[in-house]
Amino acid sequence: MSDDRSNMLEIDDLRVEFSTAAGSLSAVDGVSLQLAEKESIAIVGESGSGKSVLARTLIGLLAGNGTRTGSIRIGGKDIDALTKKERKHFFGVQAAMVFQDPMTSLNPVKRIGAQLTESMKYHLDLPSNIANDRAIALLRQVHIPSPERRLRQYPHELSGGMRQRVVIAMALACEPRLLIADEPTTALDVTVQKTILDVIDELRAERNMSLILITHDLGVAEGRADRIGVMYAGRLMELASAKDLFSGMRHPYTQALLRSIPNPDRPSHTRLHPIPGRPPDLLNPPTGCAFAARCRHARPECVDNKPPLIEGSAGHFFACHFPVGTPEGEAALAENMRAGVTGAGLSLDEAAEEFV
C-alpha cells in the first residue's frame, strides 16, 4: 500500500493458535495488514471473530496457551528481534492499549495519580514531581475537570466515562506512536461514548498517532476510522477505506452484518435481516470460506476453496469468490435463488423471507 518507511505497523501472515482441552483452536488465521503513520483503522467483527486476540497479540499480551506465527513490525522494528532490554521499554511506550472495561483495567486500591505516573517513572525514568505535572496535563487533555483533585481520588470515586478517560490518559502517558483501543466505549452510554471517541480523535490528530480501533459496531467504525477491516472466524474478509466500504461493499458478510443492524433512519417495525446459521467451530474450521455456510452467494467452489484476500480495486481488498455487486456475484446469487438453496446447502426459502 505504501512504502516501508511510512508504515507504523506491518503485520504479515499473523496466525494465533490456542491449545485447549478440546484441541487446537485457530483464533487468528493469516492476517496481513499495514498501517501508515497517523492512519486509523477500525477492525470490526462479532464475538469470536478474533479481533481482540489480534489486538492483544500486537501488544505482546498473548495468553500462555497461545502460539503465534507470522511477523509483526511496529515502527519498523520486528517485535521478535527486540533485545530483552529494548522489549522492557517497548510495549506501553511505542505502542499502548486501551482496554474495554474501565472498571477492571484500573487498580481499585491505588490512587489515580499513582497509576498514571507509574509508567512514566518506570519507562521514562521521570522524577515524581515532573511525572505529576505531566499527569495533570494528561488529565486536562482528556477533558477531566479539576485534574489536581482527581489525582488523589480512587477509581470508585469516578464515573464510568471518567474512568475510561483516565485509562486513555494512562495509555498516552509515554507518548505512544500507536494506540490500540479494544472496544473502548462498549461499556458506556451513547452520550459518553461520543465524548470518549471525540477525545481519542482529537488526541490522535494532536499527537500524530496511529490508531487501531477494535469494535463490534459498524456505526462507530464508520465515523472514526480512515480504513475499516471486517473480521470473521480469524480472517480479514474485507478491508477498504471507510467510504468505499459503505458505498461499495463487496463481501457478502459485510453486507449481511450491515443489514442486520436496526437503522434509525428507517421507520419502526422495519423487518430486520439476521444472518442465518452460526459462526463456524474454530476447533474444526471449514476447508473453504468460513462464511460459506451462512452466505447467500455461496457456490460449491466456496465450500472447497478458501478465497484469498485480493485487491479488487485500488485499496479495496476482499476475500470472496463471488463478491457483492460484481457480475459473478450477482450470477451466483441468482443461481442460488433459482435453486432455493445455496451451493453450501443453506436453504434460501427461510432466508428469502428474512432477506426480502
Partner: protein, 330 residues
Amino acid sequence: MAGSGTAHLRDDPRVLVRVEHMVVEFPIHGGTVQAVSDVSFDLIEGETLGIVGESGCGKSTTARAVIQMPRPTSGSVLFRGTDLTQLSAEDLRSVRPDLQMIFQDPISSLNPRRTVHDIIAEGLRVWGDRGEWSIDKIDELMEAVGIDPRYGERKPHQFSGGQCQRISIARAFVLDPKVIICDEPVSALDVSVQAQILNLLEDMKARYGVSLMFISHDLSVVKNISDRVMVMYLGKVCEVAGSDDLFARPTHHYTRALMAAIPGSRAIVDEQVLEAELPSAIDPPAGCRFNTRCPAATDECRSVEPQLRPVGDGHFVACHHPHLPVAAAS
C-alpha cells in the same frame, strides 16, 4: 426534564397498564435516593412501549416497579383497573402470571442445573394449564421460538447466548401473559443474533397478542421495535411520542442530544454536546433536572419543574423551551 404531569395519559378502553405519579425510593447510607420520581405512563393492549435513557435514569426500576418488584413508594399502578400497589402479597401472586419478564443476561437468568424443558414448563407446574399452553404442548412452544424440541433435555450451558434468550422468551410466553417486560434483552448479543431475537419478539407479539415494555439504551433498537417511546432522565420523563414521530421530530433537548450521539446515524439533529457529568440522583438539580447540561436552560428551568404538555398528536414533552419548528412554537 423533568417532567411530571399526566397530560400524556390516554382515555382508552384498551389501556392495560396505567401508572400514575409513581415514585420509587431506595434507602442509602444517610438518606434515600429517588430512582423514579413522579413518573406516569400507560400501555395499550398490543402496544410496545420503549423506554430509553442513560444508565441510572431509572428505566429498569420503572419497569420493575410495575410488576411490584420493588413495590413503589407511592403512586398507583393500575393493571386492568386493579391497583397493584394496594394488593396483598397473595392477591398480587395471582396477577403475576399476566406480567412476565425477559432479562438482559440470557445465560445467568436460566437455572444451569435444570433442563430447558423444565425451565420452560415451570410456570405451568405452578399454575396448571392456562390459555394457550399446557405441559404437553411445550414442544410446540419450543418450535415457535426456534429451538429444536429434541434438545429439551439439554441444559442451558449447551446453548449459545441467542438460543438462551429464545428459551427465556418461551418461558415468558408459557403462561399466556398480557404484558412482558423486556429489560435490555438484546444488549448482550451480537448484532446478527440481535436481529433474530428482535424479529422473534415481533412475531411472538403478533401471534399471541401481548404488550411489551422494552427497555434499552440503544435508540436504534428501541425505534425499530416500539410503537411509542418514553425518554427518561434522572428518574423523570422527558418526552413521550410515537416511535417514528419522536425520531423525526425530537423536541426535548435531551432527546436531541441522545440522537446526535447515535454513532453513524445521518443525524437529522444538529450537533449537541453533553459535556457535564450526570448529576447525582441523591441530590438532583432543582427545577428541570436536565438544566445543568441543557443548552437552552434559563432561570425558569433552574427553579420551576416543567410539566408534560402536548406538542403534537400523541407527542408530549416536559420542557419550558422545547425545540419546535418556528411556526409551531408558542
